[in-house]
Amino acid sequence: MKRSIEEINEKIKRGDVCVVTAEEMKEIVEELGPKGAFKEVDVVTTGTFGAMCSSGAFFNFGHSDPPIKMRRVWLNDVEAYTGIAAVDAYLGATQLSESRDDYGGAHVIEELVSGKEVELKAVGYPTDCYPRKSIVTEISLEDLNQAVMVNPRNAYQRYKAATNSSDRILRTYMGTLLPNFGNVTFAGCGEISPLNNDPEYRTIGIGTRIFLCGAKGYVIGEGTQHSPPFGTLMVKGDLKEMKAEYMKAIVMPGYGVSLCVGIGVPIPILDEEMARFTGVRDEEIFTEIIDFGVPRRDKPVVKRVSYAELKSGRVEINGEKVRVSPLSSYYMARKIMEDLKKLIENGEFLLTSPVERIPTKSTLKPMRQREIKVVRSVMTKAITVTPETSVEEVARIIIQRNVNHLPVVEDGRLVGIVTSWDVAKAVAMGKLGKVKDIMTRNVITASPDEPIDIAARKMERYNISALPVVDSKRRVLGLVTSEDLSKLLAR
């Protein structure tokens, strides 16, 4: 038994189509089984609403008189890319304003969709055909020839959840992460999210008509970084038809600007298998919680969890119930499912067959890098002292060996650090005792395999100029100083 998209569209036009939301479909499949559900239901609407950084819009501003070939262009002081034709540009959602805090491309897009005017400022590249050098003017959406949202990566099928093992608050693209596994954040809407309801991408492909921020949009391919089951979509839609209530410019504290995008995808129930797919439950959709306390690309996996566990509000980590926050709005995703359902029922939204499938297999490659410079390659030999060394002796070593930082070692292990500053301070206060009286005991260290960028960020964060390099047993292997790092830049 099969059902075609054409049959479904006929039913939509006649007004007797059976559309249910993904949420309702779970119940129906549970009650009637996939076979019964297939008989009853023609279309299942899915939805998602969350921060989708890889979003933006193409604009054509029309030609000024005299005409300009834009070399750089800003909208409300947010730069758009205009390395294309004279008055075409692409404004990215995460591009930051050059004059205002907490404002970026996403805000410009939201303001345009809300009907507001924005300031356009451009500098030209004067030619015989485009003599103008610069222009400043106001524009609104209706003044533009085209304003097309084109988002290279949206609607993540699922996403890695985040936690933080370190001892400080982290401000990340996954929100604020409290120290010592203080909370967990996750993105994605699980069982109601579009791609989870069509995991083999049978009906969602190139050309699929979707609901994009209140307008009719289209899937134009798999998104960037598409790697099933962490699938993504590239989508487009007419900005002029969008509604501001289905998008939201946001500022992730300490991270930057992004755009919350609302997407709804109708899934035609072509056969029993599609009914079974759309019956998927949060309990069957798994992801991993990863540790943002490790500032590397490959972050350690803390735990494998289902979306059901994440949505319950608490997950267990190391025997403790840790509270969970979503980043996506389930409320908005449900609203989109409902609104799309109504559009289809009212005959205002017809379904399409994909003209091409998106890949069901694809892997995510890391960046090809020339070399990752690690601390081992820049560290120098450390001159160490013991807690019992006298301050005078330390002063002598500092002068003779021309160093500023002396790691303090006892029984082969790092126990502190003493610097030329500590010695100067001891002299100034007339406290000429032993190293143990003046050393810093809580030492910030580096490991030999740590990239130098991470060592540099540590020095910056703690306002220090050197890190002892230690192995896992806290044996001192060397010292890396801010001077060593700045020499690299000077080369």
Partner: protein, 128 residues
């Protein structure tokens, strides 16, 4: 009732909270305290029927008092109901209702302000 107490260099040296407790028999819950050598600030919770008495004692010892209102305020026009605030609130003042809207029980708020810095749409404000 939540009170913000401000101590100057003189009052900071006196055990005023203990004195107030002993004199009034009121239970005083210290929610936040930030005290250094020269001045201090505290947010305390006092049972409603004892507030006047406690305030009287504290004022006598030179403590500056401000009665705090309902705590953090949520702008419904800005809130997208994501729920990021839920896991960072130390007293669990935020939760989802049955339609997955984020609702705030401002009475629980201890004015820590943490959620204000976490919110991505700036929907939360703490009047000060």
């Amino acid at each position: 009732m939540l009170l913000r107490l401000r101590f100057d260099a003189k009052t900071i040296r006196k055990p005023v909270i203990s004195i107030a407790t002993l004199e009034t028999n009121a239970l005083i819950n210290i929610l936040r305290a930030n005290v250094d050598a020269r001045r201090g600030e505290m947010i305390v919770e006092v049972e409603d029927e004892k507030v006047r008495e406690v305030e009287e004692v504290l004022r006598r010892y030179g403590v500056e008092i401000e009665e705090l209102g309902e705590g953090v305020v949520k702008d419904e026009g800005r809130c997208i109901h994501c729920g990021l605030c839920i896991s960072v609130c130390p007293v669990e003042a935020f939760r989802f209702d049955e339609s997955y809207r984020v609702v705030l029980d401002a009475k629980r708020c201890i004015h820590c302000g943490f959620c204000v810095r976490v919110c991505v749409t700036k929907a939360l404000t703490l009047y000060t």
